[in-house]
C-alpha cells in the first residue's frame, strides 16, 4: 500500500545530504515554511537553494543563509538589504540571477525530461554574456538548461496518501513545477484527505511527483 504520509518533521527531512540542490516553492503565498525550518534543524550544509526571491532579511530562507548553510542561491530577485546580498558582498554566498519565467521553465524542464531549451528571454542582455545564443525563426534565443534538484520543498492545501495535491488560489505558483523537478519531493499540507476526495480532474499536482507528505494544520509549525 502506498502511504506517503510521514509522522514528523524530522522524518520528512531525513536523508537530505550536504551539497544538495533544494527547490523552495512559494511566491508570497504557498511557502513551505515549516519544511524550511526543518531543513535548518536537519543540518545539511553547502546547499544550493533555488527560490524565486532572496529578498528578505528575515524568515526561513534568510535564516538558512544566515546560518552559513547555503553556498549558492538561484533566484530572480534580491534586494540591497537582503541577507543574500549581505552574504554575497562578504564573499560567502554565490548568487545566480535568472529571469522568473526562465526560472519556472527551467524547473518544469527538469521535471519533464527536457535537458535544454531556447528562449528569447534575456538573450539580448548581460545575462547572456559568454553564453550560447542562436537565431530561431528570426529571434535571438538563449540556450537554457533544465534545473533538476535533489530535493523539492512544496506547500499544499490538501493531500491524500498517494501524494495527490491541491493548492489554494495563488499558493499554487511554483509548487506544481517544483514538485515535478525534485528527486525527493517533500510536501507540507494544511489538510490530509482520504484517497478519492480530490476529483481526478481537479488534482493540481499528481502524486507521482510526491515522495513524502507532512500534515501541518493551519496555525501549527509542526
Amino acid at each position: 500500500m502506498i502511504d506517503k504520509l510521514v509522522p514528523s518533521l524530522t522524518a520528512a527531512m531525513a536523508g537530505i545530504e550536504d551539497g544538495a540542490t533544494v527547490l523552495v516553492a512559494g511566491f508570497g503565498a504557498g511557502i513551505p515554511d515549516t519544511l524550511l525550518r526543518g531543513l535548518l534543524a536537519q543540518g545539511a550544509r553547502d546547499l544550493t537553494l533555488v527560490v524565486n526571491a532572496a529578498a528578505s532579511e528575515e524568515g526561513p530562507v534568510s535564516d538558512l543563509m544566515a546560518a552559513g548553510r547555503v553556498r549558492k542561491v538561484v533566484c530572480s530577485f534580491v534586494r540591497a538589504a537582503s541577507t543574500a546580498t549581505k552574504l554575497h558582498r562578504e564573499g560567502r554566498l554565490e548568487i545566480e540571477m535568472v529571469p522568473q519565467g526562465t526560472l519556472a521553465e527551467r524547473i518544469r524542464a527538469g521535471g519533464a525530461g527536457i535537458p535544454g531549451f531556447y528562449t528569447p528571454t534575456a538573450a539580448d542582455t548581460v545575462l547572456a554574456e559568454g553564453r550560447e545564443t542562436r537565431v530561431i525563426g528570426g529571434k535571438l534565443c538563449l540556450l537554457e538548461h533544465a534545473i533538476e534538484a535533489d530535493v523539492a520543498l512544496v506547500d499544499a492545501w490538501e493531500a491524500d496518501r498517494w501524494g495527490n495535491l491541491t493548492h489554494r488560489a495563488t499558493a499554487r505558483n511554483f509548487n506544481p513545477v517544483m514538485a515535478m523537478a525534485g528527486r525527493l519531493t517533500i510536501v507540507q499540507t494544511r489538510h490530509v484527505v482520504p484517497l478519492g476526495t480530490i476529483p481526478p480532474q481537479h488534482v493540481h499536482t499528481a502524486g507521482v511527483f510526491v515522495d513524502r507528505v507532512l500534515h501541518v494544520p493551519e496555525g501549527e509549525a509542526a
Binding site: 511566491f27 530572480s76 540591497a80 521553465e105 539580448d124 542582455t125 489554494r168 495563488t170 505558483n173 511554483f174
Partner: protein, 213 residues
C-alpha cells in the same frame, strides 16, 4: 503652469488607451494602479505572473485572503471568470505571445525601444529582474509608465540606455508625468503633452531628440 501628472494620473491616462477585450499584465509599482481606472464599459482582463488570469479590485484590508496575492504580493480579489494556473503555465502565457499588452515601470528607455528596468548597474546589490525580461520579450506590446526624469533631474529617455538592459527594442509607448511618447522607427515621437507644457520645454527635459507626432 505645467500640469504634470502624478503617479495615479499616469496610471489613469494609460487606462484610457486600453481597449475593450485586451488581456494585460501590469508591472509592479505605478502600472499596478492602471486597473483601477479602466472605464466601466470595457472588459479588460489582468494577468499576474504568479498565475492569476482575471484580477479583480483590491479587497478591503479586513477581507484580504493570504492565499490570494498579485505579483507584488499585495492582496487581490478574483473577477468572475478568473482562472488560476501554476508559475510555468503563467509564463507560458507571458512568453508565448498571449498578452495584448504589458505595462512596465522603467529606469530608462532608449529611442530604439530598449528597456532598462532591473538594475542601475551590475555592481548594484539590488537586482530585481523578476518577470520583466520574460514579459518584455513575450507580450504583443510593451508600454512604459515612468517619471520623465530622475529625482536628480537626469533624463530617462535616452539615445541609448546606460543601465543594464531588460530587453532590446521592445517598448512601443511611454507614459510620463509630462507626455505620451511613441517609440517609432524614427525614434521618440510626442503624441501628447500635459496642459501648460510646450515642445521645447519637453525636449529640454529629454535626453534624446523628440519628433512632433
Amino acid at each position: 503652469m505645467i500640469e504634470a501628472r502624478d503617479r495615479l494620473g499616469i496610471a489613469r491616462r494609460i487606462a484610457q488607451d486600453i481597449p475593450d477585450g485586451w488581456f494585460v499584465n501590469l508591472g509592479i509599482g505605478m502600472p499596478t494602479a492602471v486597473s483601477d481606472y479602466i472605464p466601466a464599459d470595457r472588459e479588460v482582463i489582468f494577468h499576474a505572473e504568479n498565475g492569476v488570469i482575471g484580477i479583480g479590485p483590491a479587497p478591503a484590508p479586513e477581507d484580504a485572503d493570504p492565499y490570494l496575492v498579485n505579483a507584488g504580493v499585495q492582496p487581490i480579489t478574483l473577477r468572475t471568470g478568473a482562472a488560476l494556473v501554476h508559475h510555468a503555465d503563467s509564463f507560458a502565457i507571458a512568453r508565448g505571445g498571449h498578452l495584448d499588452l504589458c505595462v512596465l515601470g522603467a529606469f530608462q528607455v532608449a529611442e530604439t525601444g530598449d528597456l532598462a528596468n532591473w538594475a542601475h548597474g551590475l555592481s548594484e546589490p539590488t537586482k530585481q529582474i523578476g518577470g520583466a525580461m520574460d514579459l518584455a520579450v513575450g507580450a504583443k506590446r510593451v508600454w512604459v509608465a515612468m517619471e520623465h526624469g530622475t529625482r536628480g533631474g537626469e533624463p530617462r529617455l535616452l539615445p541609448r540606455c546606460t543601465y543594464p538592459l531588460t530587453a532590446r527594442g521592445v517598448v512601443r509607448r511611454i507614459y510620463t508625468d509630462l507626455a505620451v511618447i511613441d517609440v517609432t522607427d524614427a525614434g521618440f515621437t510626442v503624441i501628447e503633452m500635459v496642459p501648460g507644457l510646450d515642445f521645447d520645454t519637453l525636449q529640454s527635459r529629454t535626453g534624446a531628440t523628440l519628433r512632433r507626432g
